[in-house]
Each structure stands twice: as structure tokens, then as C-alpha cells.
């Protein structure tokens, strides 16, 4: 009788290499650690930042989708992850800068274990990174979280959206959900060591599809612009809302 062993693909890699490796092959202990940290983060966001979410009903119930949002601080990823139920946490993959999060071991541990990040090459390697994103979206139930500005804003304004998101979405049936997080820039701007206790509010918009567009450079620019205006529109709704102190 022969048994069928299927060892983990990253068995012979050191700890740092294993954290860097994507897709990851975690076992239940990683899931347990991630859930526990996520629970703590959720409590922290609710208590310290009085975090609120609206528009959860817009999130597709089935299939893979992309969430895009403005990027003002490290809190953004944590907030968007907190909008998902805990049991679906492990299928959400925020794209994180390879040159920032996938260098030192502590950052690697945060990126791989806590956030479950997909390494995204901002300089060069963009094609490979987009390929990894596409591969992720092929299996149903995965969520890709993207910040199309490519970096945290320095001014609090929403910057230009890069065309990568357009290349992913144009000509496909993958829904893209625009989100806007208000208050993150005031709470934890780039360069500050610790977050301040400012209110955070995440607004999730209606999903968009770009199946009618043919994939290409021109259409991807249009997708990026459309998504940016959708996020800006969400930010304006937030601003008009009187129960949200400016």
C-alpha cells in the first residue's frame, strides 16, 4: 500500500523565505493567530477610533471581487479587513508594497501573518504582480484589496489612480467595489509613529463591472478614472453627512 503524501511546497525554505513566498501555505496555527490579532484590531478600531462601516450590503455575496480605496495610512487595510466577517478574513488579500513590507522580518510577519498581504512590486515586476492578482481572482471567494494611488497620500487629498486596476478589471466580469475611508489621514498620517484617536468611517459603494470594455491601455485609464471619481463621490457623501464631525 502506498500513501499519498503532499508536503508543503515551501518545506525547505527558511522562515523569512516562507513568509515572503506567495501563495502561502499556512496551517491552522497561522489562521488562529491571524483571527486572534484581527479580533484585537477590531476592538481597537471600534473603541479607539470609533470605527463605523456603511454599505456592507453592496459587497457581492459570491465569487471573487476587488475592493479599491483611497490610501492615507496603515489603518486603511485594517479597516477594510474589519468590514468583512471574521471567518472570511483568510480569503482577503490586500496588495502591499513589496519594497516596503517584504523586506525586514518583523514587517514580513505583519504582512504575511496578520494582514495576509499579496506582495505587489511597485517598481518593475508590475506585470508579475498583476499576474499574481489575476491568478488570485480566478478561484471563487477571494477578495483582492487594492490602493490604486500606489502610496499613502501626503496631503490628505485623493491622488491619481494608477492604471494597474484598469488592466485587471477591463474586459472581465470581476466586480470592483469602490470604498472610501474618512478620517485615516487625520488619525495616522505618513511619518507619524502612532495613530491618534480620530474617528474613522468606511463607506462601501456599489460594485462596478467593466466587461464591455476591451482590455488595453486606453480602457484601463478610463477604468482608473471612473473608479477614482466613484471613490471621490463616496467621500463627498461622507462629508455631507451631518453626524460626521469634520
Amino acid at each position: 500500500m502506498t500513501w499519498n503524501y503532499e508536503p508543503a511546497g515551501d518545506l525547505d525554505k527558511s522562515l523569512a523565505e516562507r513568509l515572503r513566498h506567495f501563495p502561502r501555505e499556512p496551517d491552522i496555527s497561522v489562521y488562529a493567530a491571524r483571527s486572534l490579532v484581527a479580533l484585537t484590531i477590531r476592538c481597537w478600531l471600534r473603541l479607539y477610533h470609533r470605527f463605523e462601516v456603511s454599505g456592507v450590503e453592496h459587497l457581492p455575496l459570491e465569487g471573487s471581487f476587488i475592493m479599491v480605496a483611497n490610501h492615507a495610512s496603515h489603518l486603511d487595510t485594517l479597516c477594510i479587513l474589519s468590514a468583512r466577517p471574521l471567518r472570511k478574513l483568510h480569503r482577503a488579500f490586500p496588495a502591499a508594497a513589496q519594497d516596503y513590507f517584504f523586506v525586514s522580518v518583523p514587517r514580513l510577519a505583519v504582512a504575511a501573518i496578520v494582514v495576509n498581504a499579496l506582495p505587489f512590486g511597485r517598481h518593475g515586476h508590475i506585470r508579475n504582480s498583476l499576474e499574481a492578482c489575476r491568478h488570485l481572482l480566478e478561484s471563487a471567494g477571494n477578495i483582492l484589496i487594492l490602493f490604486p494611488e500606489g502610496t499613502r497620500t501626503r496631503t490628505g487629498e485623493i491622488g491619481e489612480f494608477k492604471s494597474g486596476i484598469g488592466l485587471l478589471a477591463a474586459g472581465t466580469e470581476i466586480p470592483v467595489v469602490p470604498c472610501h475611508l474618512a478620517g485615516a489621514f487625520e488619525a495616522w498620517p505618513k511619518g507619524k509613529k502612532f495613530p491618534r484617536p480620530r474617528r474613522l468611517r468606511l463607506r462601501i459603494g456599489a460594485p462596478r463591472k467593466y466587461a464591455s470594455l476591451s482590455p488595453g491601455k486606453e480602457s484601463s485609464g478610463r477604468v482608473s478614472e471612473d473608479l477614482r471619481s466613484a471613490v471621490v463621490a463616496l467621500s463627498e457623501i461622507t462629508g455631507l453627512n451631518s453626524n460626521f464631525p469634520s
Binding site: 500513501w3 499519498n4 503524501y5 508536503p7 508543503a8 518545506l11 525547505d12 496551517d27 491552522i28
Partner: protein
């Protein structure tokens, strides 16, 4: 221990810079020892509860490697059950004996009977999930993982409750690891006849006999670890470490060879995985535990 590490460092330095030999891999192994040894001994001296938790953590890392190597890690239920079992080992070692003739720290009866409960729990999982395909393999792997790697190694955790815990633990760990190093050294120097050619082609009779000789002499040299031991007990200690250590090493090699991998993991530079390091202890720990318990009682 400090002396052994210092002498080894001097010898290796001489080989490396004096004779310009290529020993990069051994050097990596040695550097890892320099980190591991103080860590382990630090935990042992930190007290009963820290050492129990430390050994249970090592057991869970060991099981994690085993699960990743065999593919069992994809089955969350089975691995979850085994992790629960490890927590049970820690609890049984930590709590006070509730009743009975032999009160003291650690619930001996529960600890000894844990495999029964663990097997019952593991067999229950396919029933609850209403699954058949491939379940015999999962059940068998989970049982081997729990009993062989975790519970047998976990005897070290329960040994922390013994009257002479520091002496026992420090001696067993030190002697077993020295036995490994001796087998490697004697094998490198004189090795000719393979010990078990199909299982581990690099291990030789010369290495095994050399290691046994070292392990037989060591109990007398380190008699201060267990002042109450007579000749019989010292002799048995030497045999347990000298033979048990080799057997533990070989039995993990069977697992590795059957799967077709070289090391269980790559967690410790120069050593492989954690399981590659503690494999001998898995065999030695329960044997020494019951030998000491038979003659002197464990608490």
C-alpha cells in the same frame, strides 16, 4: 555545557582558519547551537511553569513540521485536534493532582492516559464531518503525530514536576544532544559500515558505537545531576540515552525517507527543522522518565 561549546568553538575555529578547511555547514550548525543552548537552559532555570510551556511549544512546532511534511496540515480538523491534545499535555503537567494516593504537581493519571482520549477524538472527526475518502491516512498521521511527536516528547514537560527536575532535564537534554554530536563526529572520523543503509545512508556503526561509549561514560562524569542514582541507574541512563537517541534519530529518518524529503523543515540554520533537532529526545524522554519514576518516584 559552556566548556563543551567553548572547546567545540576552538576546535572549529582552528579547522576553519588554522587549517583552512571548508566547514561552512558545520560552522552554521555550531552557531545555531550557541543560540539554542542558552535558550533551552534559560527556560529550564526559569521554573516549572515556563519550562512546561516551553516544551509544549516545542512539541507543537515539531508537530507543525510533521504536518507540513506529510500534507496533514491541509486538514484543519485533524491538526486542530492534535493542537488541542498538546494543550491537554500542558494542562495535565501544570495542574495539581485532584485526588488519589499520590498528591502533587501534575496530574500523572491524566497525562499517561491522554493518548486514549486523543485517539478517540481523532477518530471522531471523520464521523462528525461525515467523510470517508483518505480518512484512514489522516487519522493514522494525526495519531502518529500526537503520540509519537507530542506526547512522547511531552514527557519532558511532565518531568518538570519531579523532585530532581533541574538535574533530570538538564542531563537528559545535554546528554542526548551530546550523543547526537558524538555520533556525527565519530561517524565523520571513522565511519565505514552503514548502520541502516535504507533508512539513513550517512549513519554508521562506528558513529553509533562511539556515541554509545560517550553516553555510557557521561552519567558518571555528571553524577551531580542525580546524586541519588546508584550503579544500576547510571548504567540504565547511559543505555537509554546511547541507544534511545540513535533509535529516535532513525525513526524520524524513516518518516523523512518515506515522504522523500531531506529535512523536516528549515527553521534552524545548519540543523534543518526543529524535529530534526529533537528527534532523539522523543525516544529518550519517556524511557528516562519511567526509569527515574520506577526507582525514585516522580514527585
Amino acid at each position: 555545557m559552556v566548556a563543551v561549546l567553548a572547546v567545540a568553538g576552538l576546535v572549529l575555529s582552528f579547522l576553519r582558519w588554522g587549517l583552512k578547511k571548508e566547514i561552512a555547514s558545520i560552522w552554521a550548525t555550531y552557531k545555531s547551537w550557541l543560540i539554542m543552548a542558552p535558550l533551552v537552559f534559560g527556560f529550564v532555570f526559569a521554573g516549572r511553569a515556563p519550562v512546561i510551556i516551553f516544551f509544549c511549544l516545542i512539541a507543537s512546532f515539531g508537530f507543525k513540521e510533521f504536518a507540513r511534511a506529510t500534507g496533514l496540515y491541509r486538514d484543519w480538523w485533524m491538526t486542530g485536534a492534535v493542537y488541542l491534545g498538546i494543550i491537554a499535555i500542558a494542562v495535565a503537567s501544570l495542574i495539581h493532582q485532584p485526588q488519589g494516593a499520590e498528591p502533587g504537581d501534575g496530574w500523572y493519571g491524566l497525562f499517561i492516559v491522554l493518548p486514549v482520549y486523543a485517539v478517540a477524538l481523532i477518530v471522531l472527526i471523520p464521523i462528525v464531518r461525515n467523510q470517508v475518502r483518505g480518512q484512514l491516512q489522516s487519522i493514522a498521521l494525526a495519531i502518529v503525530g500526537f503520540i509519537y511527536i507530542d506526547w512522547m516528547f511531552g514527557h519532558l514537560a511532565f518531568l518538570a514536576n519531579a523532585n530532581n527536575a533541574y538535574g533530570y532535564l538538564l542531563y537528559v537534554i545535554f546528554a542526548t544532544e551530546l550523543n547526537d554530536v558524538a555520533a556525527f563526529t565519530f561517524g565523520k572520523l571513522f565511519g565505514k559500515h552503514p548502520l541502516r543503509s535504507n533508512i539513513s545512508p550517512k549513519k554508521t556503526w562506528e558513529g553509533a558505537i562511539g556515541a554509545l561509549a560517550v553516553s555510557m561514560a557521561l552519567p558518571w562524569a555528571m553524577r551531580f545531576s542525580f546524586p541519588q542514582f546508584g550503579t544500576t541507574q547510571l548504567l540504565l541512563t547511559g543505555l537509554i540515552v546511547g541507544i534511545g537517541g540513535q533509535l529516535g534519530d532513525l525513526s524520524i529518518s524513516i518518516i523523512k525517507r518515506d515522504i522523500g524529503i531531506k529535512d523536516m523543515g528549515a527553521g534552524i540554520p545548519g540543523h534543518g527543522g526543529i524535529l530534526d533537532r529533537v528527534d532523539s529526545l522523543v525516544y529518550v524522554a519517556p524511557l528516562f522518565f519511567h526509569m527515574a519514576g520506577y526507582f525514585y518516584g516522580l514527585r
